[in-house]
């Protein structure tokens, strides 16, 4: 009815034009090969791939990583602008296409994850800025008839005495110069942006409705599809009748794909009505009996047996028997959905020459591989136009590229340009959850309250098993992401007799990394156990941690800053109880103090969370604080509400009414502080999540005397006099 050439399409076309060099003049450094391998030591990146300077002085930074809220749309451009001495008001960012040039400097594929973007790109993006600056200076020196050493750069200009030239004026000449062999990066004392910060570059378009997410993509002759998927994991279509579906006005086509039956229509609503009208006979598949209660019993049974050993030292069996005090505790955490606000979606157009994909994705290289396999094309024939991600949290990075592969299948089966949109129910029930984990710990304390023996068994599905990540992530039967935060815990290392075992049962539930991955359960268990030990030893929780962490300065720095800012040394306000936790994840060290009250009816109120992070250099400090705020709210949702459960082979939860997300009135005041640190850089996006659950659980113990060993909270069990 109306023209599909909407704002969205123009936005995406701009990307295409840029990639072929059609829009921006200047600054195209000649390269031996357009696509060059990255991450080789000593080899400088290609500035052409990461930066375009227009004749109008515009600075466009191409992002090898994707923006899903974590702020790299601003932080990566800051790195280039710092070295370039760019005029910040002219800086814009855009997602890079999918190509080997943009491979992660450590992981060797194009991926956004592991809270790695800023530190993994810290050198590369600064080098690009420095190279561009050197070329612009050289071009200016020629123009002015002076030596490059006699030129300085400032706010998008090269200046030498009374001579001045803008980067825009110099871009074309600079583009013709050979790429410098090496560059010198600024001395940190000269930084103007790094460590000081900038406002987010993506805010203006995110407050006026023009920011384009995958779900906003509109292409000519595009249909919108929803897919009927099996009611349980591993189910299959036996047969289906699409007569009624096809009779829904607006429905154009119904096709079967490996994941189910797709209804293609003029718009989402017709497709959804069409799906409701489908009659499908399902083969429930091998997981028809999936049941959360049974799973938990099986997990518990396994926890009583030896598993694959992740780490061990001393004689844990003997020493457990002669402690001054012992603790024997079982902890349990459920399956969790990521629930990004933007439901999963993907748009695909297949032509004889290529397969084009528009999606918010964290894992372009893998997506390209799957699309190539499905279409019979080569990976380089798969173009990925990465949009903004309406939240990722790990869900938009699956080894199967599930939501992208499916859309390619729908486009292939129908021969149509198609946008596949998931409903919220599809998302909640669609699997790829944070795996449920049961931990069983037996700990013996010596006379001084130090743990002298610690046996820890974890039971939970492996994220890597059966994926191409398996060889990298699983060693001797231990998926590193299952035990991270336990086996490498600073506490565990210092216990003379310890053993950490892992069982990785197969359940048929698709599982995935969920913001902070293994740390999302291990920090809760470890930091709650440490609180149990402190209590058993009769020591203050902060003092006890200081004692155990005396040789771990970064843990201590975060812990001490959080304790100081929360005024731990003074009694809490009347009616408020406090809990503390400190945890290392993704190279950063985060401590949190939670201030809570629990009503007699068992209702939790978190009043304030004081947070301290040592992430080394914080390139954009307010961005780091925003990630702490974000991680804390994300984690508190899991503490209060998060659980996916199964009954009769089906997921019980459906939408936000039974998979609730924390709301404004439940959000605590958050004070985030950054440890002034020159230590190795770590991450931020995930690191605020792990300490929150134990800090809150420990505060609940302080308030009620009831130890929280299972999440989400059950107010019934927190009732107190």
């Amino acid at each position: 009815m109306s023209t599909p050439l909407s704002i969205g399409r123009r936005g995406f076309l701009k990307t295409g034009a840029l990639l072929t060099g059609g829009l921006v003049i200047g600054f195209t450094v000649p390269l031996a090969k357009r696509v060059q391998a990255q991450g080789e030591p000593g080899k400088l990146p290609s500035p052409n791939a990461f930066l375009r300077i227009g004749a109008d002085g515009s600075i466009l930074v191409l992002l090898a990583h994707v923006e899903m809220g974590q702020g790299i749309w601003t932080t990566l451009p800051m790195l280039i602008a710092e070295e370039l001495d760019a005029d910040w008001s002219k800086v814009k960012a855009e997602h890079a296409p999918a190509a080997p040039t943009y491979f992660h400097t450590a992981f060797g594929i194009q991926i956004t994850g592991g809270s790695t973007t800023t530190h993994s790109e810290f050198d590369r993006y600064r080098q690009v800025g420095a190279m561009a600056r050197a070329l612009l200076v050289e071009a200016a020196a020629k123009k002015f008839g002076v030596k490059p050493e006699d030129c300085k750069t400032e706010n998008g200009q090269v200046i030498s005495g009374s001579n001045k030239a803008s980067y825009g004026e110099l871009a074309e000449a600079a583009a013709k110069l050979p790429k410098p062999e090496k560059v010198t990066l600024k001395d940190p004392k000269d930084w103007k942006l790094i460590g000081k910060g900038k406002k987010r570059l993506d805010s203006p378009e995110k407050v006026n409705g023009t920011a384009k997410f995958g779900i906003d993509v509109q292409l000519p002759d595009m249909l919108t599809a929803v897919v009927a998927r099996p009611p349980g994991f591993g189910g299959k279509v036996k047969s289906f009748d699409a007569t009624a579906a096809k009779a829904v006005p607006g429905v154009r086509e119904v096709v079967q794909v490996p994941s189910g039956v797709a209804v293609l229509a003029d718009h989402f609503w017709a497709a959804k009505l069409g799906r409701e009208a489908l009659k499908i006979d399902w083969d429930p598949g091998p997981n028809a009996g999936l049941d959360s209660k049974k799973l938990r019993q099986e997990f518990r049974k396994l926890a009583g047996t030896d598993g694959a050993t992740a780490v061990k030292a001393g004689d844990v069996v003997k020493e457990l028997e002669n402690g001054a005090k012992t603790i024997d505790a079982e902890y349990f955490l459920p399956y969790l959905a990521h629930s990004p606000m933007e439901p999963l979606n993907c748009t695909v157009r297949i032509t004889p020459e290529k397969c084009e994909i528009w999606a918010g994705t964290q894992l372009q290289t893998v997506d390209q591989g799957h699309a190539a396999r499905i279409t019979g094309m080569k990976p380089e024939q798969v173009d990925i136009h990465t949009t903004f991600l309406g939240g990722g949290f790990g869900r938009r990075a699956t080894a199967t590229s599930d939501f992208i592969s499916e859309a390619v299948e729908v486009a292939k089966a129908s021969g149509k340009t198609v946008k596949v949109v998931w409903t919220r129910e599809d998302d909640v029930r669609g699997g790829y959850y944070r795996p449920a984990f049961l931990h069983h710990a037996k700990i013996a304390l010596d006379e001084d309250g130090h743990p002298k023996a610690w046996k820890h068994v974890l039971v939970g599905q492996s994220i890597a098993a059966g994926t191409p990540f398996e060889p990298m992530m699983i060693k001797d039967g231990v998926d590193a992401t299952s035990v991270e935060g336990v086996s490498d815990s600073p506490y565990m290392k210092d216990v003379p007799n310890h053993r950490v075992d892992l069982h990785s049962p197969k359940t048929g539930v698709p599982v995935l990394w969920w913001r902070s991955v293994g740390h999302s359960h291990t920090a809760f268990v470890m930091e709650s156990l440490i609180d149990e030990l402190a209590h058993a030893a009769g020591k203050d929780p902060v003092e006890y941690r200081r004692m155990l962490l005396k040789d771990h300065p970064r843990h201590l720095a975060a812990l001490n800053l959080a304790a100081e800012k929360a005024e731990w040394d003074k009694p809490p306000k009347e009616g408020v109880s406090r809990g503390v936790a400190v945890h290392e994840s993704f190279g950063s060290f985060v401590a949190q103090v939670a201030e809570v009250s629990v009503s007699k009816e068992g209702e939790l109120k978190v009043h304030r969370v004081v947070c301290a992070i040592d992430c080394g250099l914080a390139v954009n400090p307010d961005g780091v604080k925003a990630q702490m705020e974000s991680g804390i709210i994300f984690a508190l949702t899991a503490v209060k509400y998060g659980q996916i459960t199964f009954e009769d082979g089906k997921v019980k939860q459906r939408n936000f009414h039974d998979y609730p997300i924390l709301r404004m009135h439940e959000a605590p005041l958050i004070e985030a502080h950054i440890v002034q640190s020159t230590e190795k850089m770590g991450g931020a996006g995930e690191c605020g999540v792990p300490p929150l659950a134990p800090a809150v659980g420990n505060a609940i113990f302080a308030a009620t005397g009831k130890r929280v060993r299972e999440l989400p909270l059950r107010p019934d069990e927190l009732k107190h006099a």
Partner: protein
């Protein structure tokens, strides 16, 4: 044909009267600033104004909008300079940004009703809007800031 006035512009759309306003806005008028989050009035991502009142367009049949004024995020201000939009930028509110159209549309009605809202007023008005990135603290600050810009706060 259903006739709608969206952002002061009249549109005639061929849609079943029961079609939710959200999908008419997004898929027929290509006003994609209004977002789909849940389809059952749980998350507020689809919030628009119908004759000035905040409604969840995902559960509002388009027939209810006939002959009324619909305002979406695209029409909140002619040039993105509504005090809430400016305050949102100043406080670095958005993260992924997906829910923010709905947040701002809910906040706009709050500010019109209460020029200087308290934290409790904000809790009440905004608790229907979910933000998975957890930007609530900054939303609260930005609403207070916008109130000040309006001269509402003392």
């Amino acid at each position: 044909m259903i006739t709608l006035t969206v952002n002061r512009k009249e549109h005639a759309v061929e849609a079943d009267p029961a079609t939710p306003l959200l999908w008419v806005l997004r898929d027929m008028l290509h006003l994609t600033g209004t977002k789909y989050g849940c389809g059952m009035a749980q998350c507020g991502a689809c919030t628009v104004h119908l004759d000035g009142e905040a409604i969840r367009s995902c559960v509002t049949p388009v027939s209810r909008a006939e002959g009324k004024q619909v305002t979406t995020i695209e029409g909140l201000s002619p040039d993105g300079t509504h005090p809430l939009q400016l305050a949102w930028i100043e406080d670095d509110v958005p993260q992924c940004g997906y829910c923010q159209s709905g947040q701002i549309m809910s906040a706009a009605v709050l500010l019109r009703e209460k020029s200087d809202p308290s934290d409790e007023d904000i809790d009440l008005a905004m608790s229907g809007n979910i933000c998975r990135c957890g930007t609530y603290q900054r939303i609260r600050c930005a609403i207070h800031r916008a109130a000040k810009m309006n001269g509402g706060a003392k």
